[in-house]
Symmetry: C2
Subunit: 278 residues, 2 copies
Amino acid sequence: MRSDTASPARDAIGLIAGGGTLPLVLAKAVKARGHPLVCLALDDADASLVSLADHTYHVRFGQVEDVIAALRRHGARRVLMVGRVSRTDLVDRGDALFRRWLGEAPDRRDQTVFRRGVQRLHDLGVDVASPLEFAPELAVPADVLTRRVPTEPEWHDIRLGLSVARAVAALDAGQTVVLKRGVILAVEAAEGTDAAIRRGGGLAAGTVVVKAARPDQDPRFDLPTIGAQTVALLQDVGAAVLAVEAGKTLLLDRHEAVAVADQAGIALVGVDVAEAGR
Amino acid sequence: MRSDTASPARDAIGLIAGGGTLPLVLAKAVKARGHPLVCLALDDADASLVSLADHTYHVRFGQVEDVIAALRRHGARRVLMVGRVSRTDLVDRGDALFRRWLGEAPDRRDQTVFRRGVQRLHDLGVDVASPLEFAPELAVPADVLTRRVPTEPEWHDIRLGLSVARAVAALDAGQTVVLKRGVILAVEAAEGTDAAIRRGGGLAAGTVVVKAARPDQDPRFDLPTIGAQTVALLQDVGAAVLAVEAGKTLLLDRHEAVAVADQAGIALVGVDVAEAGR
């Protein structure tokens, strides 16, 4: 029997990194757990990833063959896929392998492309992992995180908004809904969360912003993510509440996000969907 | 037994008119059928309604008591409600009676407010009628109306888009979805159809624009409506297809709309939803 101290070095982990701070947070979490880190930095990836990773490769979206080669070179059999990627990048990009995968897909919805990619990567010896495995502390708890709690009409909007956002997310359109007093002001699609918050928040003061996961959310891909920047955007447009699905939403820079919300009088809430549905 | 020639004069019809050309088209249709017309013109109503109507009253959104008084004065027991109204007008507007109706409503969704209004108007002796009763020729047939027919991938997007648009409309958010190759580019909410078409169409060339009715659409209220202006907007953003639900969508200025589409190489399609679902 092998003792713990004699266990082999931890396995190398790959990180396909898009834009934003989530890849940085994940890179730190992977390193903190003692894994060698192989970073595949996309165009928008933060430049400081280079100093965190053991090996960094700059790749463009869809250069699958380069990604596989880099991961194999360093023995990384598992990879995280995080960070912002422009959805329009999905059209007419990538190497021959990636274009073949796309060509086989019945459509180019995120979920279709992701599921197919995960299967093909697995066939090639690489498994996609969930960010929650390496940084479970990022998950928003079912709780009111701020000093201000939602009012009764705001709770009504939160429950309605969650059911609408989950339905829209199930259609693979977007994850965010902005509403007030039961009136749906904005529904997100390819324009992204920030644009949807600006559009809906611009129509009325004191709106409720809700972000939900798909009912069948795969935690390895595109988990709803918020941070201090999201809260600052709500403050910009005079929104009143940011409600997200507990357990399935990642909260970056929690301390700062709550501080900004408290200062702006915004309620920041994680909702247990099973609970809310009652 | 009364003979046809001895039948009493046709009953007066009310027309609560918002913005756009639909109220004008309806006013002409009502007059063409020999009804006296009592027009209740909202702020955005076309000024030329005055010359078509037998009686015109200028009212603001939610002045229900003035509307009822005007209709009673001229013996109009049925009323049409058509034309564009800014959804944000629903908040904090109207007379005491309207505010009481709103106060009783569980939320301010269009459907909630409309259904409550219809019931209360009925109690007060006024019934809301469907535009399709007076102008059935406006309904889009299940057919390709243009020279260009959709390609196979476009038909795929039309079917997917209709199912998404119907689902979103069922949530009382919006009726319009813009997509391409299965990727949902824009979903309409309170910003309106034109803004959604601009947003989604701006993300890619050759998009498919789909407009659907709610699955439980009440034909008396907010029927999906398109016209030459909608087609011109698709041309502006380089969209390829405009598909709508046959039988439940109104097409204004059909001749001009088809001419603009033909000139721009856009396919204009009415889809039988039961047929498309197969």
